[in-house]
């Protein structure tokens, strides 16, 4: 407890930074759930692929030697690589794992089974990446270049942590600022997009009443593709932020993060965009405080206990359900 | 509850006229016969005794009282100060145009919704915050406007689930096959077959609910509700989707259910139909009660006529 009180702002800001990552991933869960009533279990792997994409692209471009303004450029490239890859993976996922089921009107449990299967395929495909290279005797070269996927692959970008300014007792670093800043930018863009654009209105319409939306000329399949792309891009951004904060990724990095992000979505009220953001930040901060009080080993336990407690007292989450009804 | 007419087959309904109508109206459904087996001809056998002790000899007077019930969803007032009562042994019709709040009223009575204000008394006791299954065990059973059978269970199993409402076999009785398990299983079986026979479904006992023809599904829902031994049977548009002849036969069936001692609350928006079978009628419109009385009185009530004016009576 003393630890928390003495370093209150440090834990708060770290918590917010992790919360931003959770929130961005949670957006993907919430969007898809709002439109399809489906838990996109494989969303965590979309995130993982994004993280590898930015590691590989930055390695290939020799980002580790960069300094000064170059770092900023590589940072942007890293974000772009992760976002594009994640969006594409999400789109492919929708096409292979969910669309055939939708055409058959499968019950939700079956869709979830397919999602679990897809999640396995995506994470194991990354884990087994070295296999085909081994046939050509290239696996060691590749490993020395980008690392092995079953071990930690580091982000090849040297950003010195600079303490910029103080918030009470904590000196906020440039990384905190990049992570929080880019998260907020993403969120504002998404919020405005869903609120104002024609496609955004389509998303809300399908979420509220798919049949009526179809009658009004909204192309449901297109809207669904769009939600997967947006959710994927957000997960990609989160992947880059995660790399900045943690520094490494693994083929199974997505799983725990995905479960937590889903927790965040449920916490805020699944299907509700602003709820996902709120849930993400609440979860991040709660986890951070929890690790201060009980020790960092218990961080994850705190997160899940919080989920159970919230569901117990407020089954529809903090802000309530429904993408359509929420203003976002 | 012995079967009073052993060997009765579905074809032996006493009323020949009714039988003729049946043939006539079912002529269009030959497809069912060929596909779903030779015994589609489902004729209720109303001579089967389906009465139960729990329901017999109930005190006369008000069985269920709806007292000034108001229900709001956000800004919408679905029910606005509705009060009426049901007497033991009668068939009460609850009618009104679409969206008048009839089903909502059912939902309040069966514990699906908690009223915003007011309350429901059953056998003199307020229902309070009782859960749905507890209310069923007290003796209120219902059917649904949109059929909600357990589709992947057989007709027999559907009725057995209803009969289980007054059983108490738990895990241990089932695991150890205690006498209670056997007693309740055979009681449930007897009751279920009795009801299936009454409804004319006994030949289809082993078919999956979802493979039954539409009309049989509707009757199976009634059988399932009756299996819970209800003091009050609430039927939510049981004749929806029926043609006039089928509707008429269903109404006769409902009357014979009442004649065996059950009290019936019937939702229907086809006014003509209700006039013939009900003892009293309550009319709702826009969540308010606009009239209550004997069928003859309701027929001449200007408010009711106004409410129904322009409403196509066969809109179902």
């Amino acid at each position: 407890m003393d630890l928390l009180l003495n370093h209150f702002w440090e834990f708060t800001i770290t918590g917010l930074a992790f919360g931003a990552v959770y929130a961005l991933i949670a957006l993907g869960y919430t969007l898809v759930y709002g439109v399809l009533r489906l838990i996109n279990f494989a969303h965590s792997e979309v995130f993982m692929w994004g993280s590898f994409a930015s590691v590989w692209v930055l390695t290939a471009l020799g980002a580790s030697k960069a300094s000064g303004v170059g770092v900023v450029g590589f940072l942007v490239i890293g974000f772009a690589a992760a976002m594009v890859t994640s969006a594409l993976v999400a789109l492919g996922l929708e096409f292979v794992a969910y669309r055939p089921l939708r055409k058959r009107n499968s019950p939700p449990l079956i869709a979830l089974i397919s999602a679990i299967g897809a999640s396995f395929v995506l994470s194991e495909a990354m884990g087994l990446r070295d296999k085909p290279f081994k046939w050509f005797g290239l696996d060691t070269d590749l490993a020395s270049y980008v690392g092995r996927p079953r071990e930690a692959s580091p982000l090849p970008l040297n950003i010195d942590t600079v303490r910029l300014f103080r918030v009470f007792d904590y000196r906020v670093s440039n990384i905190d600022l990049i992570v929080l800043g880019s998260a907020i930018v993403m969120m504002v863009i998404l919020d405005q997009f869903v609120k104002r654009s024609r496609l955004g209105r389509g998303i809300r319409a399908v979420a509220q009443d798919p049949e009526a939306a179809a009658l009004m000329g909204v192309n449901r399949d297109r809207v669904i593709r769009l939600t997967f792309v947006i959710g994927g891009a957000m997960a990609g951004a989160a992947a880059m932020m995660y790399l900045l904060k943690i520094g490494v990724t693994r083929y199974n990095a997505g799983f725990l993060l995905g479960v937590k992000a889903f927790t965040a979505a449920v916490l805020g009220g699944i299907g509700n965009l602003r709820g996902a953001l709120l849930g993400g930040f609440v979860l991040g901060v709660a986890e951070s405080y929890g690790s201060a009080i009980f020790g960092s080993n218990w961080k994850d336990v705190v997160a899940f206990t919080l989920l159970v407690i919230i569901l117990l007292f407020r089954p529809t989450g903090l802000l309530g359900e429904s993408l359509g009804k929420a203003r976002a | 509850m012995p079967d009073t007419t052993p060997g009765t087959t579905p074809g032996s309904t006493p009323d020949p006229e009714q039988h003729d109508t049946a043939k006539e109206t079912r002529g269009t459904r030959v497809d069912d016969d060929t596909v779903l087996g030779p015994d589609t001809e489902a004729t209720p056998d109303t001579s089967v005794d389906i009465s139960v002790e729990e329901v017999a000899d109930l005190p006369k007077g008000k069985m269920l009282e709806v007292e000034d019930v108001t229900l709001r969803f956000g800004g919408v007032t679905a029910l606005d100060g509705v009060s009426f009562h049901i007497n033991t042994g009668e068939i009460l019709g609850l009618i009104g145009p679409n969206g008048a709040g009839k089903t909502t009223c059912f939902n309040v009575m069966t514990g699906v919704y908690q009223p915003t204000s007011g309350g429901v008394r059953f056998m003199g006791e307020p229902l309070g915050k009782r859960q749905k299954f507890q209310i069923t065990k007290l003796g209120i059973a219902r059917t649904f406007q949109n059929i909600r059978l357990f589709h992947n269970m057989t007709a027999l199993e559907n009725v057995l689930v209803g009969a289980d409402a007054h059983h108490s076999t738990g895990m241990f009785s089932a695991l150890l096959r205690l006498p209670k398990h056997h007693a309740e299983e055979s009681e449930g079986m007897d009751r279920a077959y009795e009801l299936l026979k009454f409804m004319g479904l006994d030949k289809r006992a082993d078919e999956l609910a979802r493979n039954l023809p539409y009309g049989d599904q509707r009757r199976l829902e009634i059988a399932r509700a009756l299996a819970t031994n209800p003091k009050l049977l609430c039927l939510d548009e049981p004749a929806a989707g029926f043609n006039p002849a089928e509707k008429a036969r269903l109404m006769e069936l409902i009357q014979s259910i009442r004649d065996q001692g059950y009290t019936v609350l019937l939702i229907e928006h086809d006014m003509k139909l209700v006039m013939g079978v009900t003892d009293r009628i309550v009319v709702l419109e826009f969540g308010k009660k606009i009239a209550e009385g004997l069928p003859a009185e309701i027929q001449d009530n200007p408010a009711v006529i106004a409410a129904y004016l322009g409403v196509d009576e066969d809109a179902s």
């Binding site: 292979v96 089921l101 | 596909v35 779903l36 699906v112 299954f133 589709h151 992947n152 057995l160 895990m171």
Partner: protein, 378 residues
């Protein structure tokens, strides 16, 4: 794949048509063969890369797990993605009480493990079974992970990541030895130098553990059948079909869901205890969340709600990777692909329960007529 289910149902139909005495004789013969599998060591089926007895033990163990999870998923329709949590709790209860902190005999540890898992099932289920179905999946997934994290972190109780060793074995009853068969091509010979002691539990021979696990499978199957063919089973099925309607027909759905969840948990605990006594050494790494998903896969592949289906699927999915070792690396990848294919092409599982096969048959002929009528009348 239809051939698979019709093959098995064909067997089922012929079996049912037999006279009673023939049924009993056949059932006993089949049981004896299954019991003697590791002794017979049949060519083609036996595993060359790993101990066949140990593989068969795992098959029986996971069959037990699948039966338990089938109650939760197949009967009651609750998607439990944290079943490994109960398995782990069962194993560690035996470890803690039998070795780490006390020296209770195994036969006492196992019932305690089942009670502990039962209670943990109730504690987890009571708050979460009230929420909607798909939340349950995530909450249970989280639970499975929490259990593992607690096992790793609660050093003083569970030995942390070092785990617990010297877990007690079942009491021995050393009566006689059974020589194994060895095969030269398709010619069998009795190998007197290689005998399994009846019944000597130890590290060297897995076969007695296989017999123990198999016996438990049969007992649990019997109890499972009794549960399903009763008011309890009907209540589960009704709840799965339409929870609101079930409630309005007088089924206390929450209570029955909790019963299914807790029963499943207790069987998971039993399996975990069995695992612990066979391994004699456990650590938290034995209980990663991947296993939860594997267990769900067994139930779904087997056909939710069909107890024999899930038993066969569990055994197959355990045996196949051991038999085809060269695929071991790609095991989870193949699993994922199989699940996706299954969801698309055969959502009811390889061997769905009889009832849905019957329904499907009727559907294949009738849907047009029913639909046309439904529309015409609506």
């Amino acid at each position: 794949m239809n051939a698979v289910s019709s093959f098995f149902h064909g067997i089922g139909d012929r079996f049912r048509a037999l006279p009673r005495w023939a049924k009993i004789v056949l059932a006993i013969a089949a049981a004896v063969i299954v019991y003697l599998l590791p002794i017979i060591n049949p060519p083609l089926i036996t595993t060359t890369d790993s101990d066949f007895g140990a593989v068969l033990f795992l098959c029986a163990l996971y069959a037990l797990v699948a039966i338990g999870l089938n109650i939760v998923i197949g009967y009651a329709g609750l998607l439990d993605l944290g079943y490994i949590g109960f398995f782990a709790i069962g194993a560690f209860t035996v470890g803690v009480l039998g070795s780490a902190h006390a020296k209770l005999p195994l036969l006492l540890c196992i019932p305690i493990a089942m009670v502990v898992t039962l209670v943990s099932g109730i504690v987890l289920g009571a708050p979460t079974l009230r929420v909607r179905g798909d939340y349950l999946a995530i909450v249970t997934l989280g639970f499975g992970e929490i259990v593992r994290l607690i096992l790793v972190n609660a050093d003083s109780l569970t030995g942390g990541s070092r785990g617990i060793s010297n877990i007690p074995t079942p009491p021995n009853l050393d009566l006689f030895g059974i020589p194994h068969l060895v095969w030269d091509g398709f010619v069998a010979k009795v190998d007197l130098s290689n005998q399994t002691r009846f019944l000597q539990f130890g590290v060297t021979d897995s076969i007695p553990y296989y017999w123990l696990a198999l016996t438990l499978v049969f007992i649990v199957l019997f109890l499972d059948w009794r549960m399903q063919n009763s008011r309890v089973g009907r209540a589960w099925e009704a709840t799965r079909e339409d929870e609101d309607a079930a409630e309005l027909m007088g089924v206390p759905t929450f209570r029955f869901k909790l019963l299914a969840f807790a029963t499943g948990a207790a069987i998971g605990g039993l399996s975990g205890a069995l695992f612990a006594t066979k391994q004699q050494f456990i650590n938290p790494d034995n209980f990663t969340i991947l296993y939860s998903v594997l267990f769900v896969a067994m139930v779904v592949v087997g056909g939710q709600g069909n107890r024999w289906g899930v038993v066969v699927a569990a055994a197959l999915l355990t045996w196949a990777p051991e038999k085809f070792r060269f695929l071991a690396d790609a095991r989870f990848l193949l699993f994922g692909l199989a699940l996706m294919a299954l969801a698309i092409f055969r959502p009811q599982g390889l061997m769905p329960p009889r009832r849905s096969v019957r329904a499907k048959k009727a559907d294949e002929v009738a849907p047009d007529q029913i639909d046309a009528e439904g529309v015409a009348r609506a």
